[in-house]
């Protein structure tokens, strides 16, 4: 299931994140794509806030992953620096773990991902306007469908 929508501003981005968060449960995998500055971390911040995480969620580029302990933990992973790499990234326990895994630059580690996940690709249209290509496989197809409305 693939669908393309547009968000006009930060409020609409927050709304989209809130809807995604309403499906969050242990083992939920959300993959994010888009160029530098497309809004992947911003989206994750909105998602985390909707999950009730009060701490500052900032870029995980440097440490590859940041863990936010919460009733439903958030594993914020950034594969920006893993481009062209193969090997054991030891991310499995987080991706298939007890919380929500959000993976930025997921295409860099595509072969290490589960078969089923929700993905959103952000494309810069204007200052706060983005085109979002949402794709879901398996049980995520239904979520992708809901998000298109």
């Amino acid at each position: 299931m693939k669908t393309v929508i547009h968000v006009e501003n930060l409020e609409e981005t927050a709304k989209l994140a809130e809807t995604v968060a309403s499906y969050a449960k242990p083992g939920f995998v959300l993959c994010l794509a888009g160029d530098l500055g497309a809004g992947k971390t911003t989206f994750t911040q909105f998602l985390g806030a909707s999950m009730g995480i009060e701490e500052t969620i900032n870029s995980p580029t440097f440490t590859i992953m940041k863990v936010y302990d919460h009733s439903l933990p958030l594993y914020h992973i950034d594969a920006y620096r893993l481009e062209g790499q193969t090997g054991d990234f030891e991310l499995e326990e987080y991706i298939h773990g007890d919380g929500v895994a959000v993976i930025e630059w997921y295409r860099n580690i595509e072969e290490y991902l589960p078969a089923e996940y929700l993905s959103i690709e952000f494309k810069w249209i204007g200052e706060t306007k983005r085109q979002c290509t949402i794709e879901g496989s398996g049980p995520y197809a239904e979520i992708a469908k809901t998000l298109s409305n």
């Binding site: 530098l36 500052t56 870029s59």
Partner: protein
């Protein structure tokens, strides 16, 4: 008290021996930076493997240079986070092995405490003190009212300042690490490209993703119109805006908390424009910026911090000490 310290949180493997939280007897640093340059950043897998390869040699060298016997060590200190988990664990296990073999207490130390205490090597700290911690992974303002008492005043909402440098350098096609490259180019340019005004929630907070996106979008628009961009002027414009934001928020904190001392810590403290501005903008307080060799990651600063941590807490860690990718200082 003689402290053996180990640092391996990112791409530097370092072992240091220091005395009484003041005198650095040895500080051996092996940087993997050249190994990672072709990848445009630190590759975690390669980093941890390199740490394993180097650590024993560096260990021995640190003892030889310090002229200290292994039996003379009173405390073992090691960086426990934040950092790359695989890298941290190499240092932690080496520290544990030493502590176990020579039966000395071990303390896990916060990496940022180390960067802050790098200043103590040459300048005695005075309180209240405001520390600006700036690196590839951090941009924070910390208040200290006494030794080893940290209070976080603000932090970045999104990207760290060093990360913004790296990403802008990458988009400009300048290579890695971005900080020194942009700093060098900026000196030859003039800040003539307009940069956005950075807005944050709090007066001690930071935000770099807007500035980063602005530069990227600006470059993309120019490319689409087939117009050229002067790299030197772009580097100067970005650097001017990035550093001004650090200075503005720091001025707020120094003024509001009546600080007696302002210190800059972390890898970005090596930035020449930041050093110049810090020297100019804080005439009423004592200012300290660590010498270049103590700006980037090193074990000496961890040993100094460990001394004060142990002196204050009077407790050591157990052998189940772990590493953390994300860890709160305050």
């Amino acid at each position: 008290m003689i402290v053996l310290a180990i640092e391996s949180s990112c791409d530097e493997t370092s072992v240091s021996i220091s005395k009484d939280g003041k005198t650095v007897l040895s500080n051996v640093v092996y940087s993997q930076i050249e190994l990672h340059q072709s990848f445009g950043g630190v590759v975690p897998e390669i980093a941890s493997r390199e740490h394993i390869k180097r650590i024993t040699v560096i260990f021995e060298k640190a003892f030889v240079e310090a002229g200290v016997a292994k039996e003379d060590i009173d405390l073992v200190a090691v960086t426990k986070g934040p950092g790359l988990i695989g890298s941290l664990l190499v240092g932690i296990n080496a520290a544990k092995a030493f502590a176990f073999a020579y039966d000395v207490p071990i303390v896990g130390v916060h990496h940022l405490a180390g960067h802050i205490y790098a200043n103590q090597i040459e300048e005695e700290m005075e309180f209240p003190l405001v520390a600006l911690v700036v690196s590839g992974g951090h941009t924070e303002l910390i208040l200290m009212k006494d030794h080893y008492a940290f209070e976080k005043l603000g932090e970045t909402h999104d990207d760290a300042v060093g990360e913004a440098y790296d990403k802008v350098a990458r988009v400009l096609g300048l290579g890695y690490p971005g900080g020194p490259i942009i700093d060098k180019l900026a000196k030859e340019g003039t800040p003539e490209y307009p940069m956005p005004h950075i807005r944050t929630k709090g007066v001690y907070d930071f935000s770099y993703s807007g500035l980063k996106s602005h530069v990227i979008n600006f470059l993309n628009r120019k490319k689409m119109k087939n117009e050229s961009v002067d790299e030197k002027n772009m580097a100067a414009s970005f650097q001017e805006a990035a550093i001004r934001h650090l200075i503005t928020q720091s001025e707020n904190a120094v003024r509001d908390y009546d600080a007696k001392m302002f210190i800059v810590a972390g890898g970005v403290a090596a930035n020449s424009h930041l050093r110049d501005e810090v020297a100019k903008k804080f005439p009423h307080v004592k200012v300290s910026v660590p010498p270049f060799k103590y700006c980037t990651d090193n074990a000496a600063m961890m040993g100094i911090a460990a001394y004060y941590q142990y002196k204050k807490n009077k407790t050591a860690d157990a052998m189940d000490l772990n590493g953390y990718s994300r860890l709160k200082l305050a």
